[in-house]
Amino acid sequence: MFVPCDRGGGSAGPDFKGFILLMPAVSVGNVGQLAIDLVISTLDMTKVGYFYTDCLVPMVGNNPYATAEENSTELSINAEVYSLPSKKLVVLQIRSPFIKNKYRPFCEALLSWVKSSRCARVVLLSSSHAYQRDDEQLLGTPLRYLLTPDLEKAVGGHVKELNWKEMEKVASYPGISDTDKVLHIPGGGITKLLFTESCSEGIQMAVLLKFCSEGDNIPDAFVLVNYLNEWLQLIKSEVSTVQSKWKIPSSWRLLFGSGLPPALF
């Protein structure tokens, strides 16, 4: 599944032992993916490979993080891997939706790759439909987290200090009070599947998600990436400044279409 970039030198491929794998779920508002774009763009991460997979709709374009004419012509496809060894961070970006019936094969292949590349833990950025919140969830922070039992043991204490709110479980039959509580992440794409599989396979995984709706999700992406930063401290977070230091990639231009014809007015 993982194809390393050919950087010459004939090495066997990058080693991610002990790294944190940061990745998005293709979810409502594409918030996870937008947040990952901010991380890759701000930290100026290097592409180290891609996933050759039949689970995602194909797409291709030129370098979405181009900053100048020289670096704008590198091709980019739907699932690519970037790394920043100085922070022991490897990032997967997913740029297109899943093909029907391919959620499970992708999750299986991904977790198998996580194990074979010896990543220490996985952090999944996701989102969930805001309109599915219950009365209590409508108040307070729209951000939630989840930790697999193995990660809970490792970082549970630190997360408690951050005062984060854990994603609530809901009754499997809403309206009937004494049924089992289950995890339900509407609009979360592969989030729930990946999380439950990680729990059963002993993988250290954290899910960070935000309740949101479709629309202009750039502000949601900023909120989510700042939430992530509270924990992983990827960039310096200055409390005094209102403006965050995340760099918007050049591919975010014209998100809502072309310019208007002057004849319209």
Partner: protein
């Protein structure tokens, strides 16, 4: 999500979510149905008798979509210099192709031609729509029949102008409007400007 008229609708998500299907566990009947549908959607690549496999190919030109296929028919293909060597047979909700090589321009087809004077030059006209779950299969089966060393691939396709994103309005674009994407291995001169961000290519040309 409630609309102004009070009815509740499920808003389509840009993320292309189809969650309810995935959340349900598959029953044996579901699995059987899914397998039958998958079998029906399988792609077959049929090469004519005189063709040796793997095909030795130096240049492969693929025209995807009716416009690109018509371009090749009008300007390149003729029955004197080119011979039909293969066909792709597939079915999906939008179209069905058959194994016949005698096609009308209005049919859905996917044919392979070879230049008689240089049999390493291969051309493909794909006017049928290859669905997203079939694109990878098409790719693997077609390229799987070829020897890929030293192969140069050129893909011709069209996209609606409405999909093109630019600072100015799309009404002011010059015609013909050509853009290209190339891999870094392609060292030759490209005849038109490269596709700028944030525009992308999807479906079979992307695959």
């Amino acid at each position: 999500m409630a609309t102004f008229f009070g009815e509740v609708v499920v808003a389509p998500s840009r993320a292309g979510l189809d969650e309810e299907e995935e959340a349900r566990e598959e029953t044996p009947e579901d699995r059987e149905i899914r397998r039958e549908i998958e079998k029906k959607r399988e792609i077959e690549v049929l090469w004519s008798g005189g063709v040796q496999q793997p095909l030795v190919c130096s240049r492969f030109i693929v025209a995807i979509g009716r416009n690109a296929a018509a371009f090749l028919s009008s300007f390149i293909l003729d029955s004197v210099c080119w011979e039909v060597v293969g066909v792709v047979k597939l079915w999906n909700e939008w179209c069905r192709t058959s194994s016949t090589t005698n096609v009308l321009p209005t049919d859905s087809f996917c044919l392979f031609y070879r230049l008689i004077s240089d049999p390493t030059v291969l051309l493909c006209q794909c006017s049928c729509y290859v669905a997203e779950d079939q694109q990878f299969q098409w790719l693997e089966k077609v390229f799987g029949s070829m020897q890929k060393k030293g192969l140069q691939v050129t893909i011709l396709s069209t996209c609606p102008v409405a999909d093109y994103k630019t600072q100015e309005s799309t009404l002011t674009l010059v015609s013909p409007f050509l853009k290209a994407l190339k891999t870094k291995e392609f060292q030759e001169q490209v005849c038109c400007p490269l596709l700028e961000q944030p525009n992308i290519v999807r479906d079979l040309p992307a695959a």
